[in-house]
Symmetry: C2
Subunit: 203 residues, 2 copies
Amino acid sequence: MPKRVDHEERRQQIAEALWRIAAARGLEHASLRDVAAEAGISLGRLQHYFASKGEMLVFALDHISGLGEQRILARINTLPATPSPRTILRECLAEMLPLDAESRAANLVQIAYFVRAVHDERLRRHAKEGIPALQALFADQVRAGIERGEVAPERDPQAEATLLIALTDGLTSFALLDVYAPERALELIDHHLDALFSGNRQP
Amino acid sequence: MPKRVDHEERRQQIAEALWRIAAARGLEHASLRDVAAEAGISLGRLQHYFASKGEMLVFALDHISGLGEQRILARINTLPATPSPRTILRECLAEMLPLDAESRAANLVQIAYFVRAVHDERLRRHAKEGIPALQALFADQVRAGIERGEVAPERDPQAEATLLIALTDGLTSFALLDVYAPERALELIDHHLDALFSGNRQP
């Protein structure tokens, strides 16, 4: 087996140790030493793979985002042959909510990352790159909805895409705080999609 | 001057020292000792006012929320005699966005609090009490919009209120990450309110 794959696998194992800590007690107080202990390796070994906590966090976030994308694709693949734009959006947004333990852990890692990124220019650059990609995907679905006459033509696909992401992000925060159950967050997304996909009602 | 007022004033000064740290570098690494130094008092003196970081954080959050409410009321008082429901909602939501240094600091304190609350039952209870109060205020405005024929009657005031809060929360996160300017977040809220207050378009 090539050495490169082994290196990548080990980095993924470390990232997964990081998620377990994030899900159980947050990352604010988790040191590289804590993560090494959780991964069952020495601190020196961990530092061979990651020079800093910031680097480890970016890798863990990319890895968890990659798994999230795979989960979304797998979910879309179980749908009928040509899912509607609304169905695609709904499945993507549902996948972003903390509806199960895996997704809850992913969200907690993202929050830990977010809090650091607010004060760290390098981490912020990373967010700036990731969010527009998701926005473009969602804007395409809104545009397809307009073409099919399901979304009013005066809606701006870019703005609607950004609103959908922000909305899901905010609903996730409150679900993590137990303000309401994650299932209620999904109901509210359906409510928002009902209004968005209510067709061309212009007089 | 009564001793009670003096005690409260000192607690507020400490809370303000906490905000300055939150705004400058986040709270993850700020100890009670750091806050005492920023407030210009000894650690022992600070502990006379707050027994733990959690207690200090809850007080700081309440104080900052109180100031936020005062800012909203002051803003509404500058409006014409009977502002429309949409105007009231817009002013409240704009006040929640990090559009100036004070509001940015308030948002950073709220995030620091949020991250701790996810793993702390006592702090979570506090969030559970605060959010429904804001929700009720916003639901009243949506209900008034329905009565005036500005909002479609099939809209659910409670659900719309929750969506508005979640949306503003998510837009704030991305504005703090510089994904877009805070002014863009306000444009997107206007965009959402345009759709909500588009009247009764039922066929």
